[in-house]
């Protein structure tokens, strides 16, 4: 884990560069006959690198834009502005045709194992899709490949004639993984791959993902709101809040000394065993809800809820940089980062809500 991180610096080490990516959605105004359209700022100026072979976790609350960002990376969404560089190639404005060869190299595992498989098609045919679309294998050869994939993800290859409805959630997720693996991708975006599964099944799927990464040298962009899962699987973590990345750090550094007050609050909300709750761990529950992405706050987007906010936070947008004495890969976007071992003491916002 740490070995991978120490290799950073070399240009070719980066598989995907996310550069100043902005994604806005125009929504029709709620008012009847209104001419104006409201804009949802789902992702605002995110810059992030995904390194070859690592697992980069993207964490944050529901609606913080982590899924949108991931969908921008694989070009399920078109960007409003910014660039996505995949293995040296700018794909942010590539046409559907130009994307085809790139599609083979990036795949996705979806959150909902019930929605990600067409209920009217047999799983053998679903897993065979990648071969058919890219004309890689036909007939018996395709069936052989499908069986091989099913074995790889721990499914019984004899079940290739069954329908998705015949499988449990965990098995369906395995089918989705088999389909995503068929083209031997470099990048695998896992959009909350286990959050819809039973806890016992979660571990199986996470272990499978880990084994596959080792075996096939996959790079994962792992989206989750479950911090205990993230701690288990990832090498680095990027914390998102309301469309912006507020902190990026190696997993150990983030969990032991978070710099951003939001990260601190997020981590303190993580459920832990009573035995671990010894000592100074305090639970911080932030006041209020995240503001609407239709009208994000000025300056630091977290300032209306931040217990440490000062006047500067409302005016000046903090950038991701190294704070205090952190290692170079631990960057935080906060004017008043937390010191080692420090934790938020107040839960109330320091500034009156404006």
């Amino acid at each position: 884990m740490t070995g991978r991180i120490s290799r950073d610096g070399a240009k070719s080490d980066v598989l995907v560069s996310i550069e100043h990516v902005v994604k806005e959605f125009k929504v029709r105004s709620a008012r009847l006959f209104a001419r104006t359209k409201d804009i949802v700022h789902a992702v605002s100026d995110v810059t992030l690198d995904i390194r070859r072979g690592e697992t980069l976790a993207l964490v944050g609350e529901t609606g913080c834009g982590k899924s949108t960002l991931a969908r921008c990376v694989v070009r399920l969404h078109d960007l409003t502005s910014g660039r996505i560089i995949f293995d040296g190639q700018d794909i942010s404005s590539a046409s559907e045709r130009a994307m085809r060869p790139v599609r083979r190299r990036m795949q996705m595992i979806f959150q909902d194992p019930y929605g990600s498989l067409n209920p009217r098609r047999r799983v053998g045919s679903i897993i065979g899709d990648p071969f058919e679309i890219h004309d890689l294998a036909r007939g018996d050869e395709r069936i052989r490949q499908v069986r091989h994939l099913m074995e790889l993800v721990g499914l019984n290859p004899e079940h290739l004639n069954r329908f998705p409805g015949d499988f449990s959630g965990g098995q369906r997720q395995r089918v989705g993984i088999a389909r995503a693996l068929a083209l031997r991708p470099d990048l695998m975006v896992c959009d909350e791959p286990v959050s819809a599964l039973d806890v016992s099944i979660q571990a199986q799927i996470l272990n499978l993902l880990g084994d596959l990464q080792e075996e096939l040298g996959l790079t994962y962009l792992f989206i989750s709101h479950d911090l205990s899962v993230v701690r288990h699987v990832s090498d680095r973590v990027a914390v998102m809040y309301l469309g912006t990345v507020v902190e990026v750090a190696p997993v150990h550094a983030l969990y032991t000394h978070p710099r951003h007050p939001y990260t601190n609050a997020l981590l303190s909300a993580m459920p832990i065993r009573a035995a671990e709750r010894a000592g100074d761990r305090t639970e911080v529950i932030l006041a209020g809800d995240p503001p609407s992405p239709m009208d994000p706050p000025s300056g630091c987007r977290f300032h209306p809820r931040c217990p440490r906010a000062q006047a500067r936070c409302a005016i000046e947008t903090p950038v991701l940089t190294r704070r205090l004495h952190d290692a170079s890969e631990h960057v935080t976007a906060c004017h008043f980062p937390l010191a080692d071992g420090e934790s938020l003491v107040s839960e109330a916002p320091a500034m009156a809500l404006s």
Binding site: R100, M108, F110, S116, N161
Partner: protein, 309 residues
């Protein structure tokens, strides 16, 4: 049905399950039997003609009409009586079944084909394509059916082809709207996004991912469209806009009967009954098919037989 069940008989796809449910539906079974009987009647129409020795347009002015020139009632010679020109009503109704079923199936088949393709295309592409296709559907839904049919027949003359065309023209738009709405919801499913991620073409997504999922709705709608088309054909031929006499159709028999309903009940009763029974059968079958394909039911049974790992 494409059961496709080879070695593993436990594999029951959504379609197989729907068919099984349909088999357990009594009303649906009766309706299906009635429809089969109608189809048989239509196919075997010449046999009726041969057995009775009466052609569909053959007049029996001596025995088929009373001395006053009134149709004769059901008898051993004429099982369902005769019509105003002394023709055997049974043979004419049986031949009329051919017209009704042919028009009903052809018109609704065409409508469903066009409506499905247009609906999926509008729903999938969205944007300008959707706007153009949706407006086209609006136009066809807004045009008055009978006025348009009258005008068209006045220009090109009446024929079976024209009635099929006109009926299909006024039915596809409603199919298109339903399919479009369904497509709009299906396109948001993760499996469609997965197909896009794999680099699937538009055609592939529309016909392999979306079509099987709108098929249930389309099938239900087809079975409910057929009786409408049959009634529409009867309406057109009642007004003399469809098949050319002396060729029989339920509509023009009813039209002929209008002059005699006070003296010859059978003349209006039997073709009317044929129309009612056939449309009722298609409607009931449509209801059963809808129940069998109901996604809610589908869900429950899907959860009930969880596969063993």
């Amino acid at each position: 049905m494409t059961a496709g069940v080879k070695a593993d008989i436990r594999v029951r796809g959504p379609w197989t399950l729907a068919l099984e449910r349909l088999r357990n539906d009594k009303a649906g079974k009766v309706a299906a039997l009635v429809i089969c009987a109608l189809v048989l009647l239509a196919l075997l129409a010449p046999l009726f003609s041969r057995l009775t020795g009466h052609g569909p347009a053959e007049q029996f002015l001596d025995i088929g009409l009373s001395p006053e020139g009134v149709p004769t009632g059901p008898s051993r010679r004429f099982l369902l009586g005769t019509d105003g020109l002394g023709r055997d009503l049974l043979v004419r109704i049986v031949y009329g079944t051919r017209v009704s079923l042919l028009v009903g199936l052809l018109a609704s088949g065409t409508a469903v084909l066009v409506g499905t393709v247009v609906g999926i295309a509008a729903g999938w592409y969205g944007g300008v394509v959707d706007r153009i296709l949706s407006r086209a559907m609006d136009v066809f839904l807004a045009l008055p059916f009978l006025v348009f049919a009258l005008a068209l027949v006045a220009v090109v003359g009446s024929s079976l082809t024209i009635s099929v065309t006109v009926i299909a023209m006024f039915s596809w738009a409603s199919v298109g709207r339903i399919v479009r709405a369904e497509t709009l919801s299906i396109r948001e499913h993760a499996y469609v996004q997965a197909a896009r991620l794999l680099g699937a073409s538009h055609a592939r997504i529309m016909f392999i991912e979306i079509l099987p999922n709108v098929a249930a709705t389309v099938i239900v709608y087809t079975t409910l469209l057929i009786p409408g088309a049959i009634v529409a054909e009867a309406t057109l031929s009642f007004l003399g806009l469809s098949v050319v006499p002396p060729a029989p159709s339920w509509g023009n028999i009813l039209s002929d009967a209008m002059a005699y309903y006070r003296v010859a009940w059978w003349f209006i009763f039997f073709p009317g009954a044929a129309l009612v029974v056939s449309t009722l059968a298609f409607n009931i079958l449509g209801d059963s098919v809808r129940d069998a394909l109901d996604p809610k039911l589908d869900h429950d049974s899907g959860a009930a037989h969880e596969a063993t790992p």
